[in-house]
Amino acid sequence: MQDLTRRKALGSGLSGFLAGPGLLSSGALAAASGVSGAEIVLGVSAAFSGPSRGLGIELYRGASAYLEHVNRAGGIQGRKVLLKCYDDGYQPSPSVKNTMTLVLQDQVFALFGYVGTPTVTRILPLLKKLQEMNAYLFFPFTGAQPQREPPYGDFAFNLRASYRQETAGLVDNFVAIGKRRIAVFYQADAYGRSGWAGVRRALIRHGGRIVGEATYRRGTRFTASMRAQVEILEKSQPNAVICVGSYAACAAFLRDAVDLGLKVPIANLSFVGSENLLKLITEGTEDSERYSSLLVNSQVVPSYEDTSIPAVREYRELMERYNPQPPRHLLEEDYTPFSQSFVSLEGFLNAKLMVEILRRQGNDPDRSKLESTVFTIRDFDLGIGERVSFGPTRRQGLQTVYYTVVQSDRFVPLRNWEERFST
């Protein structure tokens, strides 16, 4: 899969500015909307550096595997689909800057595969401001509410289930096995608050409340101590903890919680990046089960281990065939990719649906018709069992939440909550 470098992107944008709108040729006019005779360009701003870079990289790799496959087979109406990527390090301000560059300067066809709630919630007002340019955001890697509801819901399309659905599912299952004293460990930002609000809402439905809460700063690394957070939560004597964070901080919390004797089920949302988390807590530890046995992670895609699912088989085959690499020009630190992961599977499914939408645009892809094209997606089979539909009041394609636990250092579907966590 080809991707455009930042330098190329800036170069093309600059030449566009210098030419001026009145001097653009018809070919340049077409390119100005992110489409030319040879390619369709999608804009990506995600974390390719910093402690959450594993999320941006894996999401990109999954999407790249499918787009590579499509491009090698002739693309869409002869056009290759390219990703123009910028790194925002999972920080809001760079995300806003990148989005302005992608929309105003690079003039990409659509925004795709963004990572994170604090980043996405900050660009939504920008998309509203630019609504005349039909700058839509497709399938961001976040389950937060702001891009699912007014006033900004009209500018984004979501594939994954929401954090509200994930947290409600976790709370329902914990309450069902008698674990009603639920505490929350969360990132001190919009993402953490979104998950916290989901847990609170679900507990109120059960007549309960959050018994304790502790926070950490975005960007915290695995080497940081979470002793203070563990001690705060211990005071509330929880019998389950729901973590709303990224893998480095959540792995650090799990490590310190177990080491300090807080041995209760510790749940994480899909955003955590399960494989990255597991890698951190098992590396260099002989008794990794001591930590991993307490884990339960919610997922918004099915297990990549379940090869009975057609899309999973396709994903595994294409990941193996193309072995997509992270965008090297954006990498600041070494990163060893996973052969499969929940995040890259989500990226793969995102790309698959995006390609279907672009195909439905026909010979003349047009940003102004993107929304109506998306609304033609009805009961579409992505190959995971659940059908995908969109409409004016339905801007989220999938609704299912899956739950996984660690067995033999791998995430496997959780079949029986009572059996796993009854003690």
């Binding site: 919630t121 509410q145 702001p146 608050r193 916290w196 502790a214 950490y216 203070a228 705060i232």
Partner: protein
């Protein structure tokens, strides 16, 4: 040198004056900067609290709390703001910026008035907290903690810079004073030596020409001494001084 003792009191006076100036200007600086910054920070905090409170109404009624958190996260980046939290009408926390958790001091006593409250939070510092109601208090309150440690730091910096400047002026002043004193002290010492020699040895030889050539008080004294030496010398008899009017 004995003669320089005359000037020690002058130097001591100059030093005392500088100390007095340093202390008084530092005290005035502390008071002025502290008062101005405290007033400005409190005023800004009240303004921000009102802005957040006004913006929160729509979010609280229509949107997810993550939007509220996103809102306060933008304000916490402003220098001097230590923390922000929003409570509902029952005092339950809806959004906040505390890490690793809500401090006990705040959880125990949530302010419900518009008056500023002083708080000391172990591990975080000293704050003045201002509060504004959301929808006249029916939807909750916005609380903003202004970090007074930052004000103290700024006062320290301002005073430090002032003391640094005064010290520089003091050193230059002292060096200049020593140089000026030496200009006077050296010929005075020579004159003193001559006077002492005259008294001890009854020696009527003339003092150094450089002293006699001076047109200031030292030159006049030198000529006067020479005149007296001649008056007292029985071999030479009384003679007029070679120059001067003494």
């Amino acid at each position: 040198m004995r003669v320089q003792k005359v000037f020690q009191k002058t130097l001591f006076g100059v030093f005392s004056l500088f100390v007095l100036i340093s202390l008084s200007t530092s005290a005035l600086c502390i008071y002025t900067v502290d008062t101005h910054l405290s007033t400005e920070y409190e005023s800004n905090s009240r303004g921000i609290a009102k802005t957040v409170a006004d913006a929160s109404v729509d979010i609280l009624l229509n949107r997810d709390l993550s939007a509220l958190q996103s809102l306060i996260d933008q304000f916490i980046e402003i220098q001097g703001i230590g923390y922000i939290y929003i409570t509902d009408e029952h005092g339950e926390f809806l959004a906040h910026t505390f890490v690793p958790g809500i401090p006990d001091q705040i959880g125990r006593s949530i302010s419900s008035s518009d008056e500023a409250v002083e708080r000391h939070i172990p591990g975080l510092g000293d704050f003045v907290e201002v509060s504004r109601p959301i929808l006249a208090g029916f939807a909750g309150r916005v609380h903003i903690g202004m970090n007074t440690s930052l004000i103290a730091l700024k006062v320290q910096r301002a005073v430090g810079q002032q003391v640094y400047l005064i010290s520089l002026i003091f050193i230059v002043g002292i060096l200049s004073a020593v140089w000026l004193v030496n200009l006077v002290a050296k010929p005075l010492a020579s004159l003193l030596d001559y006077g002492a020699r005259l008294a001890r040895e009854r020696d009527s030889s003339a003092p150094d020409n450089s002293l006699l050539a001076r047109d200031d008080e030292i030159g006049q004294l030198a000529n006067l001494f020479l005149y007296f030496s001649k008056v007292m010398d029985p071999r030479k008899g009384i003679g007029a001084p070679s120059s001067g009017t003494a």
